[in-house]
């Protein structure tokens, strides 16, 4: 590919250039807004410029992703992809606010940008002219990057960049974010960007006519049409009412199989490593509060956070690859048919499916849902999907309910997933009929060309998401773990019993500690609330401890009834199943087990998810609503289950 031509415009009007604007403003505080249509390779170009310096945060008070990076002495902000600034969709609103100087990503001081970098697609030049006209109207220093020049070349499209620059009155640089061609020239041009010395129309009809005129002057397309019969066939297959659904199921099952299968290896390693570290620390330090805090609080807390990392990394990497192929855009339409009657759009499917691994990356993935109401509904119902942390509880309870029937265990296990999905659909319908009223936005979406995914872009996105998870959720999960450890470890109870082996003494001491700790006392106080559901003091403590993370339930129950939290041991599971209440009656009756199962399917028992909901939905009120609604539904469901099963038996 020939090196793209660089066209630098004279500045005959003597208007301010970016560097002269900067002379009156702190040079370290410069903002360059990157604007452009969706699917123009804007993010690939941004990644090419910023690399791993890019950070992801939110635009405060919104659910929009904000990627930004300190580059070339300025803060480069990758704005959401838009077709026009003049639309009432959240992406356009965010772009307008940033260009007005009213909004900046969290951690960046908001002011009117010092320059706009408009990224347009060389293969879709005419359509991209709307955003170019709107950027010119802002009267800010600007540069236009004509991206995908390599692809345009292959498609026989020629663009006269110099003439293009003359037509719009600012510097135009041809480049390719994919190959890196022309990116250095682009950054030089951005540093000396000037306000366009031409004006552009502001009315829609006039903008279109202006764009057509410029297109006819600067672009020449190949005479022979592109053969897209293969694209036609693939599109028809992928969006077919039956074949489309089958393909979708196969692709998604494969994706999640890979995630569960591959993530298990690093997860086990992380688990073992933190176990070893904890063992080593408790061996080195004398028994006491410092050792307890370090081993059971901090190390266990960090381990409990990092263990989710392989799933998150794999999920985002594979989803980015899949999105890069162009398939996900087609799949969104397939699933839109199912979700739209319930007030969600096809975009919601990936977040909902991801929530089956863990609601945290699922809720984070809801950023891809463009309509704000659809997105909020998706975030609110995502935790109803049965995440992997529920699996140990499902296993325990289905085994207790159907001890000699693996077939019935499987049916009950599957039903748990189905109940979760139904609860999510019902809740979405309800929320869209009440607080998030309004029709779900029908889908109108550009279908990108099928192509090989960009590994570099997928890796960068994954790195970004992983760091974000560790920074945001990590700090909080650790804090909660420390608080929970403290509640469980204090006040310290000493038990002295003669004529017992050290193992027996350990078991008795652990049971006594579980009973007399603050957590145990809280359990005693709250137990009457759970009495109608059939839970005794021990189950209440298990449910309360699960609030930090659901999987804690099995280990908490193990500590209380057995005195050992090694739930991997079959005999431990058996002991839990045969546990007795203080009056000697069994803890897990048929009615209690059903009630508990329903409670765990529906309840919001995960504080980290609540934190992520608050962050992603743009306010704690959404997190409280989610907690309140899920608790209400879980409590009612468990109550009905307990009373119904008690009555029948």
């Amino acid at each position: 590919m020939p090196r793209p031509k660089l066209s630098r415009m004279a500045n005959p009007t003597g208007e301010l250039s970016m560097s002269s604007v900067d002379s009156v403003q702190d040079i370290s505080n410069r903002i360059i807004a990157v604007l452009g249509n969706p699917n123009v390779g804007k993010t690939t170009l941004f990644n090419r410029i910023a690399g791993i310096r890019a950070k992801t945060s939110n635009f405060p008070g919104t659910t929009q992703d904000a990627r930004h990076a300190q580059c070339c002495g300025a803060m480069l902000i990758d704005l959401p992809g838009i077709y026009s600034l003049d639309l009432e969709v959240s992406e356009s609103v965010v772009c307008r606010q940033v260009l007005d100087g009213d909004l900046a990503p969290t951690g960046v001081e908001a002011h009117v940008p010092n320059a706009i970098l408009v990224v347009i697609d060389a293969t879709n030049l005419m359509r991209n002219m709307t955003v170019v006209a709107e950027a010119i109207a802002r009267r800010l220093p600007m540069v236009v990057a004509v991206n995908m020049m390599d692809l345009a070349e292959r498609q026989g499209i020629h663009i006269d960049l110099e003439r293009f620059g003359e037509c719009i009155g600012c510097t135009v640089v041809g480049c390719s974010g994919k190959t890196g061609e022309g990116v250095d020239e682009l950054m030089q041009a951005v540093e000396s960007a000037t306000i366009p010395d031409r004006s552009a129309p502001t009315e829609l009809d006039a903008i279109e006519a202006w764009g057509d005129d410029i297109y006819s002057l600067v672009a020449a397309a190949r005479e022979t049409p592109v053969d897209d019969r293969l694209t036609d066939r693939l599109d028809r297959a992928f969006t077919h009412p039956l074949l489309g659904v089958v393909t979708f199921s196969v692709v998604m099952t494969g994706l999640f199989w890979v995630i569960f299968k591959l993530a298990a290896i690093p997860m086990d390693l992380i688990d073992a490593w933190f176990g070893t570290l904890g063992g080593w620390v408790s061996g080195v330090l004398p028994d006491g509060p410092i050792s307890g805090l370090l081993v059971d609080g901090i190390i266990a807390g960090i381990g409990g956070t990092v263990i989710f990392l392989p799933q998150i990394v794999l999920l985002f990497f594979l989803l980015a690859l899949l999105e890069g192929t162009g398939y996900l855009a087609r799949a969104s339409f397939v699933i839109d048919r199912v979700l739209r009657p319930f007030g969600m759009s096809g975009h919601a499917f990936v977040p909902l499916l991801s929530s089956h691994a863990c609601a945290i990356p699922g809720i984070m993935a809801a950023r891809s849902v463009p309509d704000p109401k659809d997105r909020l509904a998706t975030i609110l119902v995502a935790p109803f999907m049965s995440c992997s942390a529920r699996i140990p509880v499902y296993v325990l309870l289905t085994v207790i309910l159907f001890p000699d029937s693996p077939g019935m265990q499987a049916v009950a296990f599957t039903s748990c997933y189905v109940i979760g999905v139904l609860a999510a659909l019902f809740s979405s319908l309800l929320v869209r009929r009440t607080i998030l009223k309004g029709p779900s936005r029908p889908m109108a979406m550009e279908l990108p060309s099928y192509r090989l995914p960009d590994l570099r872009a997928a890796a960068l996105l994954t790195y970004d998401r992983a760091m974000m998870f560790l920074r945001k959720a990590g700090t909080l999960i650790v804090a909660i773990s420390i608080v929970l450890w403290w509640l469980g470890a204090y006040p310290n109870t000493t038990v002295s019993i003669a004529d017992t082996t050290p193992e027996q003494r350990e078991v008795i001491a652990a049971k006594a500690q579980a009973r007399h700790s603050f957590l145990g006392q809280i359990g005693d106080a709250i137990q009457p609330v759970f009495e109608p559901l059939g839970y005794d003091r021990q189950l209440t403590i298990g449910v309360l401890a699960s609030f930090a993370a659901r999987e804690v339930f099995v280990s908490t129950m193990a500590v209380q009834v057995v005195g050992s939290d090694d739930a991997e041991d079959d005999s431990v599971l058996e002991s839990i199943a045969n546990a007795t209440r203080d009056d000697g009656t069994p803890v897990f009756t048929r009615a209690t087990s059903w009630s508990l199962l329903v409670y765990y399917i529906l309840a919001m028992l995960c504080l980290p998810t609540l934190v992520v909901t608050a962050k992603e939905a743009g306010g704690w009120r959404w997190a409280w609503l989610q907690l309140g609604w899920m608790t209400l539904l879980a409590y009612s469901g468990a109550l009905i289950a307990y009373q119904a099963v008690s009555l029948l038996s």
């Binding site: 009432e88 879709n124 005419m126 397309a221 599109d235 969006t239």
Partner: protein, 107 residues
């Protein structure tokens, strides 16, 4: 492009996008007010006189846009939206199914 303009447009010989057959081409016709939906579709390239070819009927309706973008691009539309887009039919499916990018010149 909007409901109230539909009868008027049909009188002018244009039909809703959903009535095109596969492979049939036409040009977008816009009458009536610039609602948010119309503005969105126009910004996506479905603007007056844009040349389109029907690729897939039904839900979703997939069209290929050629005139508006030089290289061509595809847009998927929910049937509900597609029913509101009016088209002046240009070619039949058995005729040429690919249209040339219009407005081209040797700059």
């Amino acid at each position: 492009m909007v409901d109230h303009a539909q009868s008027n447009a049909q009188a002018n010989g244009s039909i809703p996008l959903t009535q095109l057959t596969r492979g049939q081409s036409g040009r977008v016709q816009i009458d009536g007010a610039a609602t948010d939906e119309v503005k969105m579709l126009r910004a996506m390239g479905l603007r007056p006189n844009a040349s389109i070819t029907m690729c897939r009927l039904g839900e979703p309706c997939i069209i290929s846009l050629s005139g508006a973008c030089g290289g061509g691009c595809r847009i998927g539309l929910a049937k509900e939206i597609a029913g509101r887009v009016m088209i002046n039919v240009e070619s039949q499916p058995d005729a040429q199914t690919e249209t040339q990018p219009d407005g081209q010149s040797n700059g």
